[in-house]
Assembly symmetry: C3
Homo-oligomer: 206 residues x 3
């Protein structure tokens, strides 16, 4: 799956760059910046592998370590120009979420975990790197507060599981589910969708 | 052990509700609230299973996932009335701590870990969910500052280990140790026990 | 390796004491202080063992648990006099970093992980305890902001790997790499080395 590899790399790059930019705002040193880039891009997959007790991907295949390091250096050098790239970055990030979701749910599916656990594994793969990034930067994880991000992962992940159960071929299911994740995320940002507000006016004014 | 299952579910519900209330105060969205409820109720057991390298309970048996989701929905809908429930909640929470401690120390005992490690596993099972909840909400874990909570787990967990070593039947030991955890916690709250203060007056005024 | 054991214990003591002092500043209770001492001293090795899916050292051998508890009690009792000990503590801490790095990279090397992963394992063993300490105390990890700490681990860890690949005897390699970690750290503090500043003056004034 050559295309999948390219997309996966683009996603990794986007996640690494988002890590660099966050660490940068916190005035971390070079080491801190690299670590934040790394956990943002690899943290979700690492937690997934720990939970399903599989070998951790990046520990045996260094491709992603090199890609993350390269993206971090790039982001540092061109940080002043990344504003112009905001759209591309957002697109990469969306691709990353979609791919990471598919990879996560697929790993769960193949290890025969139940439906909800597979969907959770997809969502964890796509979102937990960002959660660790925010924790290490001493912020409440952004995903818990204003993103529809996770909803896209949950819908796409569920679709993946159900279509695989229905017996459709793996490549088709992966592409279709990934496209669904991306579409929901793009539409959500475009139309400013958010989860239904659960707070009353008084609660918000407190 | 039907009774044990009922109590375990009550404990899970109490932990999940305490997670919802914390996330709610931080104005998290629906997704964030569910995640915080989930880690509060399942985080301690997950860390325990990772440490002893056993399969993670909720990944193969979804009962607790459903219970947590139900408790979260309930807590959200009735959040204005939970004030009246405070006493019941506190009781559930105490039951939860007791049960989680027993489950944790039992798993350690059966895997033949040494005494202190078994007690630590019981305490981790009972308290780590709350630690992760506080970390994700960007607070210093409450357990490190004002609760005698952990002391109850340590005493009850030690008792469990010693009685099992003495050859007493497992059900009796589980019940007796659980009751000890609950009693210490209830007495501690009733009589406002706390760990001995280690700070001098000057230190506290700094 | 008797010497190695003594040095390892000294390092553990130094890490535990640094944990106590941090928890103390946050006015934690006795339980919180012990937990912070424990994660500072044992957290890095625990994460390493989880990542390489090896049994977790302190769960089968309690020596370090006792040493950490003893160091915590010592630090609490003599906290007012630890100022006089600052130099010894710094030395112990440096020894600890060196030993922990060597232990970590050695475990990775023997499990045949690739070069970069071995170096990362050494660095994680030496530094992650401090990261967890800072997270639990609700601070941005100090290692991400002003220490050359990690650089010393990376250089010494790389040296270990390369010398072992070159076929040198394990004891010699361990000692030489540990000495390199210590030397870099001591020189860095002495000459106030830091990683190259990557922030422009405008960025720092924002």
């Amino acid at each position: 799956m050559e295309l999948s590899l390219v997309l996966d790399l683009l996603g990794t790059i986007a996640f690494a760059i988002s890590g660099v930019l966050t660490a940068f705002k916190k005035r971390m040193d070079l080491f801190g910046i690299f670590i934040i880039a790394f956990v943002t891009a690899a943290g979700g997959g690492t937690l997934r592998d720990i939970l399903i007790q599989a070998p951790i991907t990046w520990m045996r295949d260094l491709t992603f370590v090199y890609v993350i390091a390269g993206a971090a250096v790039f982001a540092l050098i061109f940080r002043k120009k990344l504003g112009y790239l905001r759209r591309s970055l957002f697109l990469f990030d969306t691709i990353g979420i979609a791919l990471y979701t598919v990879v996560g749910v697929q790993k769960g599916f193949e290890a025969e975990f139940p439906f909800l656990v597979c969907v959770a594994l997809g969502t964890i793969t796509a979102s937990f790197g960002g959660v660790i990034r925010d924790l290490l930067c001493n912020e409440i994880p952004v995903i818990f507060r204003k993103e529809i991000y996770a909803t896209a992962c949950i819908v796409g992940g569920s679709m993946y599981y159900l279509l695989r159960m229905a017996g459709l071929p793996i490549d088709l299911v992966a592409i279709a589910s990934g496209v669904v994740v991306m579409t929901i995320r793009l539409l959500a940002v475009w139309f400013k969708w958010s989860l239904p507000n659960i707070y009353s006016r008084e609660e918000l004014n407190q």
